[in-house]
Symmetry: D2
């Protein structure tokens, strides 16, 4: 009887370990059209999946896209229950801000800095209330010129700074896409083109752009979850 | 004993009636700076209170302002729990849209029509889930010229139509401030001034403007609650 | 000899009269992309030419396009010498204002009302200094909805009113395209579409739109030159 | 007699020299409200006059303001004959571009880059046709933050680059106010304020701002005219 009990205990522990091993870290990417496209073929999410598998961690992570075209920060807040919380993620990567800045100069429907931060913090609060780990990203580019002559470079810098400050005050990891893109374009945009390197139109990502996002985000996710 | 019981019963019933009579209909006004100012001295809320008392219904209604300067429709959604639901109102009057339209042309931070309707409906849904009676208002004016030459007349008409359509599809009473202001200005703005009649600056209300809002809203509230 | 001289004189005078009869009224259409396209196949200028020929006046008028895509009123002023005065027209039809209004809400590069009038008057002055007859047009539409809900209906009404007032103060004929388009759309846009009737995109003209412009302008030109 | 003739000749030559010495270099400052205010008490023009006198060159230069509030580049073109050419200047300093950029984000009435350059070149051409020496300035600041987070820093950099490129292609001296202001603010804006150092409101100059403009412009003018 004693042996049998012991055997059962061993089996049980093994099974539990197995189940524990099987429990993947679920990462939801919460954003706009860049993330919506990022979930598609050649998008940053499948590319990140490949990076993870290369690192031999394919069994440990489940990546889920939650991007909707045209979203500003307040749209994320409106759909957070249904599109994020309902999926019970372990980690949420928030990548929002391009439309909040961009559409100030297209249709006059951007988002004030104060409101951007207010909604951003409200989103973080809702995620943290569910013990979800939150990673934030700075908004990368609107235009690819590398001499600070893109129309909204000043404003993107301002919103990026807000994101960094928020992250610092809340002790959250930051994936600084703005810096990563700037560094890449400094080195790889010799003709100072305003699009065509990392983006097709100044905003939406090329394959190279998706790879850069995948790589930068994965570094941050890995550091935050390993 | 019998008499005593009877007496107590009568007293109890009387008290209950009294309590019932005392139960006021609580109306919350949910909006932007116009409503924030509307709750102040000479604002539309105290003016409406006077109108109600004149009608001998002073004991029946309690009016509460919940306006915050600079608010767009999504800001209402962000603060609805704290600023409205927590107050347990019987009726909520939603009066929002001026900044959603106006700030397209000032700081580029207005609200897209689709988003305006989406958040507006989300607000109504949250209110109705608490059995709160909802009244909606059309956004009145940005500029007072009465020959359809104000910069944003077309857009205000568009958003007003959205409000009317939403109200119809959800069977909600509408307080059509846009029509009320247009009618008033048709009759009372002989020099076609762009401000100074119902507003001090094209948007924020004069005493006459506050009285017009008070009177129009009260008609709608009374019809919906009598 | 005397008879011969007389005969020659008569022939000469007849020839001169004939040449005088042959002198066509040259009309230059001065505007933006609508006029640039209007000079093309199916544009309003060839359509007007057909209308003139139908009326049997084909020998009397020469129609010349001078439209450049993206032009605001100040662009006309910049190129008036080269593109208009150098052509020695008898009549100039100024049709400008769509971009001055429209681009306020697209790229933030519209034209202030005060500046619109200032440059418009400077153009008229330069034309009148050459004894050129000037005809002005109101800016027709940005969006075809017929219930005054197009984004910039208010502003277009305002600029149209400026054009009418200028014309009145300078005793110039007006081709009121704004009214003509509004009337047409009232009758022929039963579904309140925002494009597809007189314009392909809310601004640039369909064949029907070009015909309406041709017909309205021709009425004004004929009245001013017959 | 010979001596007398000689004496007269000497006197005559001396007088002519004197007259020649008396011929001051007339410098017209052609710009917007910054220049309009710059011509007032404590403005950059009287400050420059003081600098010139300190250098002992007070007799050599005449400084004339030609700034009009709200001007974009095309407004300069409209009023160049009356306000500049009629004054027969030797040197014209063109300082324009703030409103062309700024009003994209306030009233939607900025100026497209292409048009900015087109009108700028047309102005230069008109000045050079009169053998006037032309000096151009880069547009300095809209907001004083020194970490490239001002709303329109990217766009101002873009327009400044256009000015530098134009100047290079036309071999004109440039007064690079954008660089001068950036350098100053790097050293003298420790709290990264958005106004209050060189400007009162992010655009219009303080006494320190006027002094910096006076000093920078004078260096360029002196180098171009000595």
């Amino acid at each position: 009887m004693k042996h049998l009990t012991k055997a059962i205990a061993i089996i049980a522990i093994t099974c539990m370990s197995f189940i524990t091993l099987q429990k993947k870290t679920k990462v939801v990417f919460f954003g706009d059209s860049i993330t919506q496209q990022g979930a598609g073929k050649n998008g940053y999410i499948p590319k990140m999946d490949s990076l993870i598998k290369l690192q031999g961690l394919g069994e440990n992570y489940e990546l889920v896209g939650a991007g909707v075209s045209g979203n500003r920060v307040y749209d994320l807040y409106l759909r957070i229950e249904e599109d994020v919380l309902a999926k019970k993620p372990d980690v949420v990567v928030i990548y929002i801000g391009i439309n909040d800045v961009w559409h100030k100069t297209t249709t006059g429907t951007g988002t004030e800095p104060k409101k951007y931060e207010q909604f951003y913090r409200a989103i973080i609060k809702k995620l943290q209330a569910q013990n979800i780990k939150v990673i934030v990203c700075t908004p990368n580019v609107i235009g690819e010129r590398n001499d600070v002559t893109n129309l909204q470079d000043g404003d993107l810098n301002f919103y990026s700074k807000m994101v960094r400050n928020m992250a610092q005050s809340l002790s959250l990891p930051v994936c600084d896409l703005r810096v990563a893109f700037a560094d890449y374009l400094k080195a790889n945009n010799p003709n100072n083109a305003d699009k065509g390197i990392l983006t097709v139109d100044g905003v939406h990502l090329t394959s190279a752009g998706n790879l850069l996002v995948a790589s930068e985000m994965w570094k941050t996710i890995y550091a935050a979850t390993k």
